[in-house]
Symmetry: C2
Subunit: 348 residues, 2 copies
């Protein structure tokens, strides 16, 4: 592997001069500048980023800790992060980590010398104590319980979104509205449940525990929750699923049971993944700007890095938007605009 020394020797100058040319720092005569460029190019010299970051103590890399990597939600959030990181000359070091306190702390430690900051997503409710990690490198907490004041945090307007969707169902005349809940110890899930209850209470509807079904954010969970709901003596007339995957599983179960949506049963989801509009019937959902979530997290982190982590901590929350389609009897027939290419798979 060719190093800066090899280039210097070949060009008959010192390493300092080579470094100056390559980084555009300090004065160098036009003549040597050209010479060094030529030699470096010919020898196919590539600076060793590891060595560089050791002396500059900048890695130009951001660590990303995720609880898991399934589904469109994560690819989209990573895309938002990568776009923003790359625009600022940073790379992304991605790692899955257990969501509990120990797992996250270990992972953040492992980042020392590898990353200049970390975005950690730890939706587990138990990870609360994370808030006061006395971390030396900047950290942004994503979709996590956020109370303390040690780190920046960014969350989704879960309860507000859920509340609005359930209010929408109520405005359509529904009184018996079921919810398919998210994973038990998940922060987003808990908040969405809170919004659901809030809306019912505001409408003077008493909560019915039988209408709150367990779920875990998978299609399979939505599917089986529906089978239980339609077996009830006093069936609900609407179902709010805590995410779109479960709503899709729910639609599938209703279809097989011969129950018409939205006539006999309204269905709504959360997230508004790209597929929602292609369902049968098109799925009403709470739109979450996932790309923006990732992008904003990185922006916050970069801010923390440039300010060496001594800046006032921020706690932000991205807002959601109701998207009403046919599955709640909303609009006649939203027709997907053929050439909008909202989504673009380059391969497969």
């Amino acid at each position: 592997m060719v190093t800066i020394k090899d280039v210097a020797r070949e060009a008959r100058v010192s390493v300092a001069t080579v470094s100056r040319v390559l980084n555009g720092s300090g004065p160098v005569s036009e003549e040597t500048r050209r010479l060094i460029r030529e030699v470096a190019g010919r020898m196919r010299y590539v600076p060793h980023s590891g060595a560089r970051s050791l002396i500059t103590s900048k890695t130009q890399t951001l660590g990303v800790l995720l609880p898991d990597l399934y589904g469109e939600f994560f690819s989209e959030i990573i895309r938002g992060m990568d776009d923003t990181a790359q625009r600022n000359g940073f790379h992304l070091l991605i790692s899955r980590a257990y969501a509990d306190r120990h797992g996250i702390e270990t992972a953040i430690r492992a980042m020392r010398g590898r990353a200049d900051g970390v975005v950690a997503m730890s939706p587990d409710l138990d990870a609360e104590s994370l808030l006061n990690l006395p971390s030396t490198i900047p950290v942004v907490l994503l979709c996590s319980v956020s109370r303390g004041n040690e780190v920046d945090s960014l969350t989704i307007q879960n309860s507000r979104g859920a509340r609005e969707m359930v209010a929408h169902l109520i405005s359509r005349g529904h009184k018996r509205i079921a919810i398919i809940k998210g994973s038990p110890r998940n922060y987003d899930a808990a908040e969405r449940l809170r919004g659901y209850r809030m809306a019912l209470r505001e409408a003077g509807i008493t909560l019915d525990p039988l209408l709150e079904r367990e779920g875990d954010f998978t299609e399979a969970a939505g599917y089986s929750a529906v089978l239980k709901l339609i077996a009830l003596k006093n069936r609900p007339t609407a179902i709010f699923a805590a995410n779109d995957s479960m709503a899709i599983g729910a639609l599938s179960a209703l279809r097989e049971s011969g129950i018409a949506v939205p006539e006999e049963m309204a269905v709504a989801g959360f997230d508004d993944i790209p597929l929602a509009r292609y369902m049968d019937p098109p799925l009403s959902s709470v739109h979450v700007p996932i790309w923006e979530l990732g992008a904003r997290a990185v922006e916050l982190l970069l801010h923390g890095i440039t300010h060496k982590n001594d800046h006032p901590r921020r706690r932000e929350r991205v807002s959601t938007k109701l998207v009403i389609r046919r599955s709640t009897g909303g609009v006649p027939a939203e027709r997907p605009p053929p050439q909008t290419l909202k989504r673009k798979l380059v391969s497969v």
Copy 2:
């Protein structure tokens, strides 16, 4: 930031001894071993991975270059990579890069000193020349044209899978079978088209250019391709979409046009994304083991790394499997097993 020197000073030993204790190398008396462990713990010392990798010239990191990051395909492939990398003590440095030769080369160079090897996915047909990158670090090419002999490569059995699916449609009695093609310059797309044509030719069916529609792997493309197909004077009776997203868009368009699937029009996709079985009707597709694809790519790369890149190059191809559901009139009603939890979204 506390360094190994600080620990050594505090424990009144030399840095060498501290290093030996922390890495379990060389002989150290039980007494000093305990002392150093205690001091390091108390001072919350964390080794600086950058410095370590400079001297050992091992980063324990793998670079991953992807053309884009949309959709479930990518989250799943990344998951396969991360699982395998982590099990072998490696991290993943993920980066989006232009798929052309220059983009990939630049990106690979930027990895010097950051990663011990690179998995590059560059499905662009023009990137052919990539094959002879005289790269110093091991490279595995994923889903890319693979002819040269400079790097390992891993691809999907595209043409075989497509051929089998189209043969299946033919066996159901279809004679006029349309294809919605993938992106024009995409390798996988080209191979799937090849398989489609192969199957037709084998059945003695003459190719009809009108039945080969442009597409780009998006739902929107599938949607609008169908509108054109059903406007033909001599309509096809079956549609093979080059991926599931387009097939889903196609189903949506057919539904709105009042055309029954599979009675009036059979529909098949490629990839078998988790959602396929939840469509209405459940979608027949060519199953691709995406997780395995990522996992295997990393295995190949790790092999190249341990053998210092002088090993016989391999060219592997993961096999596909036909999954027949109702959209091609296949089986009565495949009912999703409620508790199989094939897919598990931890958050949202």
